[in-house]
Amino acid sequence: MMDELRELYQEVILDHGKNPRNFRHPDDANREAKGENPMCGDRFMIYLKLKDGVVEDVAFQGRGCAISTASASMMTEVVKGKTEAEAKALFETFHDLCTKDDHEHGDHGPVDEEAMEKLMVMSGVRQFPVRVKCATLAWHAMNAAIEGQDKASSE
C-alpha cells in the first residue's frame, strides 16, 4: 500500500508540487487556456508564447493538488522549445503513459525520448484512476491553447 503511494508521490513529484517551475504569467504570452477539474476544484491557467509554430515560452498559474501541480510544472519544462507538433505528440504519449498499459501505447509521431523519461515518474497514477485527471489536466489545457481554444474540454 505504502509502496504504491510512494510510486505515485515520488520525490520528484513532491518537489515539483511544492516548488512548481514556471509558475508565472509571462507578459508576452499570446495563447492561454484554462484547465479545470470540477470534482476537486483544481484550476490552472496555462500561458504559451507561440512563435512560428514553436513554443517559445510556457508557464502556468493556479492551484491544485500535488499531482496536478507537479504535472503542470513538469509539462512546462519539457514542452518549452518544442514545435507545436512535438508538443502535441508529447501530450498524446504522456496521456497514454497515464492511462494505458505499456503494450497499448499508440504511436503519436516522433517524441522527445528524454522528456518522456523524465515524465515516467508520473506513470504511478495508472494505479489511481481517479487521479489521472489531475496528471493530465495541465496537458489538456496546453493542448487546447495550442489549438486556439480557451479551455480544456471537461469530460
Binding site: 479545470e36 470540477p38 470534482m39 476537486c40 484512476p129 481517479v130 487521479r131 474540454s153 471537461s154 469530460e155
Partner: protein, 423 residues
C-alpha cells in the same frame, strides 16, 4: 401448431429454466388462512416486468459490498461504484447500438425522458405555432409533456391516425409533416395495440424536412432488437422496469449534436462545471442532464437486466413471445363475444380485448380470482381507447417467462367470466 413447435428457436428456449430465475412466479395469490390460492399467472408485463434473481442479486451484492455515492469521490468505494455505474452506460449504448455511451442519459423513467426532451429541447427550440406530431396511440407519457409545452409555448400538436387494425397511417403522417413541424414524437410499439411502427420510414420522412424524431421505445425495446443508428432516431427513450430491471431507471438516447446544444433540464450537483452566483457553467452531456445523485443501485440492476436479456438472446425471446401471442390470439378469438383490439401485422406480444356484455373492470376482478393478472382500463392511452370506441379494455401481455399453459389459463378464466355473467 405443430410447425411452430418444430421451430428450432423454440426448442432451444427453455422457458421452465427461465421461469426458475424469477422468484415471484412460483407464488400463489389469494391465499386464505394459510391455504394456497391460485398460482400466479402474470400477464401484466407491459405494465411492469418481473425481475430475475440475477437483477435482484446484482443490487443486493452492490449494496452489501460496493455501495457509495459516485463521481465525486477519491476513495475506494466511490471509485468502484462509479466504475460499475458508468459501465452500465456502455451496456445501454451497446443494447441500443448507440455510437457511444455519451449518447446515453439516465433518467427516472421513460416518462421523465420524454419530459426532459420536452422541457429542454422543446422550450429551447420550439415556439408559438410550431408543430409536434404524435400518433393517436401514444401513451400519456408521450402526450402530456407536449401538452404542457403547448400550454407553455403555444406549440400545436398534430395527431397521426391509425386504421382499424391499429396500423399507423403513414400517408396521413406524411401529409401532416410541414414547414411548421419541429418535432415528431411517436411510439415504437403501442402498449395497447402492440403495433410496431415503421420507425425507419418515420424518421426518413421527417429528416427530409430536417425534423428530429423521438421514439418512445418503452415497449419496443423489450420485445425485439432496437438499433437507433439503423432507424436513425434522434431521440429514443425506454424504461428500465419493463426491461426486467429496477424501477427508478429510464434511458434517453440522443444524437450527440442535439444533446450538446440543449440547455440543462434540472439544476444541481454533478451537472455543473462551476457554480457561482455570478454565473454557472454546465458540463457536457450526458452529465449535463443528470442533476443530483442518480439511481445508482438501480442502474447497476439495469445493467444486470440487460445482461440477462442478452444471455437469453433477444431474437430467441422475441420468437418465444411471438409464439405465445399467436397461440393466445387464436385461442381467445375462438371465445364468442371476445373482440381483440389491435391486429396489426408483426405486432408485439400485447393482447387487448373486450368481452361482450362484461365491463373490463369486472373481467379483471374475476380473472384475478383465478390468479390471472391482466391490466384493465385505458392503459394510459385514453385518446386511443376513444378512437376504437370501446372505452376501457382488458390487456394481457406476454413476456420472456410466460408459457402456453398460462395463455390457456387466461382463456379459461375468460370463459369463466362469461359463464359468471351469463354473457
Amino acid at each position: 401448431m405443430d410447425t411452430q413447435i418444430a421451430d428450432p428457436t423454440l426448442i432451444t428456449y427453455d422457458v421452465e429454466r427461465v421461469r426458475a430465475d424469477f422468484p415471484v412466479l412460483s407464488r400463489t395469490v389469494h391465499d386464505k388462512k394459510g391455504k394456497p390460492g391460485k398460482p400466479l399467472v402474470y400477464l401484466d408485463s407491459a405494465a411492469s416486468a418481473q425481475k430475475p434473481r440475477q437483477v435482484i442479486d446484482a443490487m443486493t451484492r452492490f449494496l452489501e459490498e460496493d455501495y457509495s455515492n459516485i463521481h465525486r469521490g477519491v476513495h475506494f468505494l466511490s471509485q468502484t461504484a462509479t466504475d460499475q455505474f458508468e459501465a452500465v452506460r456502455g451496456k445501454v449504448a451497446r443494447f441500443l447500438n448507440a455510437p457511444s455511451e455519451r449518447n446515453i442519459v439516465f433518467t427516472r423513467s421513460a416518462t421523465e425522458a420524454v419530459n426532459l426532451v420536452a422541457h429542454s429541447y422543446g422550450r429551447a427550440f420550439l415556439s408559438e405555432g410550431d408543430e409536434v406530431i404524435v400518433s393517436i396511440m401514444e401513451h400519456h407519457a408521450n402526450i402530456v409533456p407536449w401538452q404542457l409545452l403547448q400550454a407553455d409555448k403555444g406549440v400545436r400538436i398534430k395527431v397521426v391516425p391509425v386504421d382499424d387494425r391499429g396500423v399507423l397511417d403513414l400517408d396521413a403522417y406524411a401529409d401532416l409533416l410541414s414547414d411548421r413541424t419541429k418535432l415528431v414524437a411517436i411510439t415504437h410499439c403501442s402498449n395497447v395495440l402492440g403495433t410496431v411502427t415503421p420507425a425507419k420510414e418515420i424518421a426518413r420522412l421527417a429528416h427530409e424536412r430536417g425534423v428530429p424524431v423521438l421514439f418512445d421505445g418503452s415497449q419496443a425495446a423489450v420485445h425485439g432488437v432496437v438499433d437507433v443508428q439503423n432507424i436513425d432516431a434522434d431521440f429514443y427513450v425506454m424504461t428500465g422496469h419493463k426491461l426486467y430491471g429496477p424501477t427508478g431507471t429510464g434511458v434517453l438516447y440522443g444524437k450527440y449534436d442535439l444533446l450538446k446544444k440543449m440547455p440543462p433540464y434540472q439544476g444541481g450537483g454533478d451537472m455543473i462545471e462551476s457554480v457561482s452566483f455570478e454565473g454557472t457553467t454546465f458540463k457536457l452531456p450526458p452529465a449535463r442532464f443528470e442533476a443530483g445523485t442518480p439511481a445508482i443501485t438501480e442502474v447497476i440492476g439495469l445493467g444486470a437486466a440487460l445482461d440477462y436479456i442478452e444471455s437469453l438472446g433477444r431474437e430467441a425471446i422475441a420468437a418465444h413471445e411471438h409464439d405465445l401471442l399467436r397461440y393466445a390470439t387464436e385461442k381467445l378469438s375462438q371465445v364468442e363475444g371476445v373482440r381483440i383490439i389491435g391486429t396489426a401485422p408483426g405486432k408485439g406480444p400485447i393482447l387487448s380485448f373486450t368481452v361482450e356484455g362484461v365491463h373490463p373492470h369486472d373481467v379483471g376482478t374475476i380473472v384475478d380470482q383465478y390468479g390471472v393478472a391482466v391490466r384493465v382500463g385505458r392503459h394510459c392511452a385514453e385518446p386511443l381507447s376513444e378512437r376504437f370506441g370501446v372505452g376501457p379494455t382488458a390487456r394481457a401481455s406476454f413476456a420472456l417467462y410466460n408459457t402456453r399453459a398460462e395463455a390457456d389459463a387466461l382463456v379459461s378464466s375468460v370463459i369463466a367470466v362469461k359463464e359468471f355473467f351469463g354473457a
